[in-house]
Assembly symmetry: C3
Homo-oligomer: 136 residues x 3
């Protein structure tokens, strides 16, 4: 299995980070198969949504509503105010997804981008593992 780890500089703001170009580069030339995108962190996830028309900011607001960033709500309490929310996030925005690849190109729809979702303001750099599986 071909596999690499990329680094994403996520900074101190909750946000989304486009992984699509790096995944596209990773699968280029590999033929047909599945690419698995996996985040080895307990406070981040992967979302496949449109980017560039506002939805990536809408997502962060919905997450804030579902998982309020206030202390006192969560048993898990350390780091920044409301950091317990970040630890619940990956149950709803999972850290693993798989995307079909055809002729070395992801079979994404026109408006789909693969985004790292990171609401954690205490970690500045994140890793993402990309793995490619072919079939016999």
């Amino acid at each position: 299995m071909e596999t690499i780890v990329i680094e994403v500089h996520t900074g101190r703001e909750a946000g989304t980070f486009d992984l699509t170009p790096e995944i596209a580069a990773f699968v280029a030339g590999r033929g047909d198969g599945l690419v698995n995108v996996f985040v080895p962190h307990a406070t981040a996830g992967i979302a496949i949504i449109e980017r560039g028309a506002g939805s990536e900011f809408d997502l962060i607001e919905v997450i804030d509503h579902l998982l309020p960033r206030v202390d006192g709500v969560y048993r898990h309490r350390h780091g920044s105010e409301g950091h317990g929310a970040d630890h619940v996030l990956p149950a709803f925005v999972p850290p693993s997804t798989s995307i079909p690849v055809l002729g070395g190109v992801m079979a994404l729809g026109t408006w789909q981008s693969v985004l790292l979702v990171d609401t954690n303001v205490d970690n500045l750099v994140r890793q993402v593992r990309l793995s490619f599986l072919t079939s016999v």
Copy 2:
């Protein structure tokens, strides 16, 4: 990798659409492996839930509550009232899932169906890609 695209006529109502029979037909005779179900659209997802006892309608109501269909809530604003909600949906109900296949049959539980979840009332026809991976 064996892969096909099927079309689903989803109409102008938010709803769920059972993909189970078409996936079952696709994997029939293929032996052991994983079938990946992938929706190449930015406003739809896949859910594996029970169908026929009301839960598919309960899901649409919970989505309406989590993602209210009103303008003014979302930055992404075009199309029908509250369409911005549709663009957040795939972060929570992802467009990709993988299901084990044994002897050409999906290893689903008794009450599990594989449903396309499409709250977007502006798109009448959707595509779904089915891909089968075997192992050496």
Copy 3:
């Protein structure tokens, strides 16, 4: 494809159950690939989150808030009070995930555990299927 089914005794309380040790034992010695974790039940899901610092309890509370356990809310109504909630859960906390494996070891992050999420108080024992795919 190598595949096994394990049993998890989940009892009569909503909760999470750590699958990490059994998955680790299953993939040990298998080299590189993807392990798929699949729950063949319509009222349970898989979450990859931290365990041991409270987040597994925070998750159950967030689920209770998103999916209130009261009759009258859901069309699907049988079993215990609010059981309809359990049938919506897998749309948001899906029953399938895949994790990269390198040299027979899951490539999890330091704080990630693979948990079965089971809010259903009427089923005491659950099955989980583990499947390993290698690549050519």
